[in-house]
């Protein structure tokens, strides 16, 4: 892979969720778009502050719905095909198309496929698994982001980004530290 030029971005470390959300809101308001917050637990306000709204996006929900429908229809179709055409069994003259009995496996497969789609859909939309990511290069990231620190990363890909100005901007929120993140 060719080496990318420059840095990935600047990452500011905060002690509390409140400081992080304030900084993220201000960054969004002053025109930054390519940025992300890193928190040790789900923090809805942080996602809102950087302009990401999952309930509106509904990505995972959509994948889950489609998966569920496919699973349910596939099983019901299989049962119908098996019972009527592939291997008809006449048991005490009961109808071949005994749909009430077919509902149980179709119901289970709806849940199976919907659940698998939700889980794998979430991973795919998040671009996970991703064993490597530039933010891991920040020396203070590893011990903080998954434990007790709150990070805001302004990415260099943002048109508004400039190392000196963005650094001054982040430092105005009095973070614990601001460090450059290498690719």
């Amino acid at each position: 892979m060719p080496m990318r030029e420059g840095i990935y971005g600047l990452i500011a470390e905060f002690d509390t969720p409140t400081e992080l959300v304030q900084a993220a809101k201000a960054a969004y308001a002053s025109g930054y778009r390519r940025m992300d917050c890193y928190t040790p637990y789900p923090l809805e306000e942080a996602a809102e502050a950087i302009g990401f709204d999952e309930p509106t996006e509904k990505g995972v929900a959509r994948v889950c719905l489609i998966g569920g429908l496919i699973g349910g229809c596939a099983m019901f179709g299989l049962e119908t095909w098996v019972s009527i055409w592939a291997y008809p069994l006449n048991i005490a003259g009961r109808p071949m198309f005994s749909w009430p009995a077919f509902i149980v496996p179709a119901y289970e497969w709806t849940i199976l496929f919907a659940g698998l789609s939700a889980a794998f859909g979430m991973l795919a939309l998040n671009r996970l698994p991703a064993p490597y990511h530039p933010v891991f290069n920040a020396p203070n990231f590893r011990d903080g982001a998954t434990t007790d620190k709150f990070f805001l990363c302004l990415e260099a890909a943002d048109p508004k980004f400039s190392v000196s100005e963005s650094r001054a901007f982040l430092e105005s929120f009095r973070p614990v530290s601001v460090v450059e993140v290498d690719h």
């Binding site: 969720p17 409140t18 959300v21 992300d36 917050c37 890193y38 928190t39 040790p40 637990y41 789900p42 923090l43 809805e44 306000e45 942080a46 996602a47 990401f52 709204d53 999952e54 309930p55 995972v60 929900a61 889950c64 569920g68 299989l78 049962e79 098996v82 019972s83 291997y87 069994l89 048991i91 009961r94 005994s98 009995a101 149980v104 496996p105 119901y107 289970e108 497969w109 849940i111 199976l112 919907a114 659940g115 698998l116 939700a118 889980a119 979430m122 991973l123 939309l125 998040n126 996970l128 698994p129 991703a130 064993p131 990511h133 933010v135 590893r142 982001a145 998954t146 434990t147 007790d148």
Partner: protein
């Protein structure tokens, strides 16, 4: 809540207890006060990441391993000799295998209830116990799933035809049979439980990766965490996936024991052919499951000093859930008797009389004592609900009672059928007992491995519950500055 009137303890003589009561509401706290993000993380991660393996843990693992060896012996003998080594014969053709299957699956249900249904109801207290309750579900399903497979005696000859695939014989399964429904219900339940559990683990595996000191642990947890980095966008999708999985697991868990009860209810046998079975099986499953969660949680919190995270509030709440589901189960037992009388069916009536007062009536009365009389008269008492030793004992009693419930349903409905000439009895063999006790060992063995290798309490969810996790709004910040 009934803890309102807990008498204010003298903080000098009893600081521990007083600390756990919220002065604002007078209720028991869900988490002990004064904990930080780092302190809870370290407390939970340390149990796994320490290089010191407690002797007690090793002892437990070896004991459980011994039982697993016994189970493997019994299963190997079964495969060599066939199901003739078990006590099943006419008229009791369903014996320990189905009893244990239903019992284990039922135990699993509490894990899903805690992780899914209580999440939908926003019951924050579930966070401390959901991870290991879910692990309990998985291991219970492993034990349960074993029985239908081994009860065929020759699993390699007798399981594949349950799956619908184009085989060389051109034979397809019969989808109108509850046995087929079972295959799909249980396999879906196992798969979704694994997925839900693993999705819940991902952020914590990220924490483990970052907390680990050894290179090997860093690598393994790093791979398992899939590169989780706690991005705000990821968290939001993660939360919606968790919520969807919870929403899907809820109808699933209710359907699984319902489908299992169909195995009985669809048959036209007195004692089985009854419409109350689905709801009463589900309630019984949750009842026994919560008993098993208590059986595991009480020794673990003591052994690992987790009383600040798995608090009295949790134990008290679980005891209340047991009380509620126990009452539903009691209603089920009552209704069975009423229907046997009200149906005016001679066979129903006789079956019930025989179940209560026949040669195996003792099993019925053990079940009534363990499931109804002991727990449902005492769990009303707050003092007893908050007595850890008593709760542990009552959990063991309920586990026993629920096993007897399955035994009574299976055996006493079968052993004296319509023709007195075909009456028989049932007496389990040593192989039956070895297999059953062996699965208890397998369950414990897997559980011991789990608490040593993975964080048994979801760290990210505990952090979320700490008071400092909330974002303060402008107004709050201003009042603070004013102070």
């Amino acid at each position: 809540m009934a803890t309102n009137d807990v008498s204010p303890q003298d903080p000098v003589t009893n600081p521990g207890k007083n600390r756990m009561i919220d002065p604002k509401t007078g209720e028991l706290r869900v988490l002990a006060p004064g904990q930080t993000f780092r302190s809870v993380t370290e407390k939970i991660a340390r149990i796994v990441l320490t290089s010191h393996t407690p002797l007690g843990w090793l002892f437990g693992l070896v004991m459980a391993g011994g039982l697993v060896a016994m189970m493997l012996t019994a299963v190997m003998w079964l495969f060599l000799k066939g199901t003739g080594i078990w006590a099943i014969t006419m008229p009791v053709a369903w014996g320990f295998a189905i009893v244990n299957f239903v019992w284990w699956i039922g135990i699993g249900h509490a894990g899903t209830l805690i992780s899914a249904i209580l999440l939908l109801f926003k019951q924050g207290w579930r966070n401390s116990i959901n991870r290991f309750a879910e692990a309990m579900t998985l291991f219970a399903v492993v034990c349960a799933g074993m029985f239908p497979i081994i009860h065929t005696g020759r699993p390699w000859l007798a399981i594949y035809w349950l799956f619908p695939y184009p085989n060389t014989m051109n034979v397809w399964p019969q989808f109108r049979s509850p046995l087929m429904w079972d295959v799909f219900a249980v396999s879906t339940y196992a798969t979704i439980s694994v997925v839900f559990w693993y999705v819940g683990l991902i952020p914590d595996l990220g924490t483990m990766r970052d907390q680990a000191k050894s290179k090997f642990a860093k690598y393994i947890y790093g791979q398992m965490s899939l590169g989780w980095r706690g991005s705000a966008r990821h968290w939001m999708r993660y939360e919606s996936a968790s919520l969807l999985l919870a929403g899907l697991a809820t109808p699933l868990v209710l359907s699984v024991h319902t489908v299992i009860s169909f195995d009985f209810a669809v048959a036209v046998l007195p004692g089985w052919h009854t419409t109350i079975f689905p709801p009463y099986f589900v309630a019984g499953a949750i009842y026994s499951g919560f008993a098993m969660v208590l059986t595991l949680a009480i020794p673990i919190r003591k052994f690992y000093g987790l009383e600040d995270i798995i608090t009295m509030r949790h134990l008290d709440n679980m005891a209340k859930v047991m009380l509620a589901t126990g009452l539903i189960v009691a209603y089920g037992y009552g209704m069975e008797v009423v229907m046997a009388w009200y149906s005016a069916s001679h066979w129903e009536y006789f079956m019930f009389w025989n179940r209560m007062f026949g040669p195996m009536g003792w099993a019925y009365w053990v079940l009534i004592t363990c499931n109804i009389v002991t727990p449902l008269t005492t769990l009303w008492s707050r003092r007893l609900r908050q007595n850890v030793t008593y709760l542990f004992l009552i959990a063991l009693v309920v586990n026993t009672g629920m096993w007897f419930e399955r035994f009574v349903i299976v055996v006493t409905s079968l052993y004296r059928d319509f023709l007195p000439s075909s009456w028989g009895t049932y007496r389990a063999t040593k192989w039956d007992y070895m297999t059953y006790v062996g699965t208890l060992g397998l369950f414990t063995f897997l559980f011991f491995l789990f608490i040593r290798l993975l964080p048994m309490i979801p760290m990210s969810e505990i952090r979320m519950m700490l008071p400092q996790a909330k974002v303060k709004h402008e107004a709050e910040l201003q009042t603070e500055a004013g102070d």
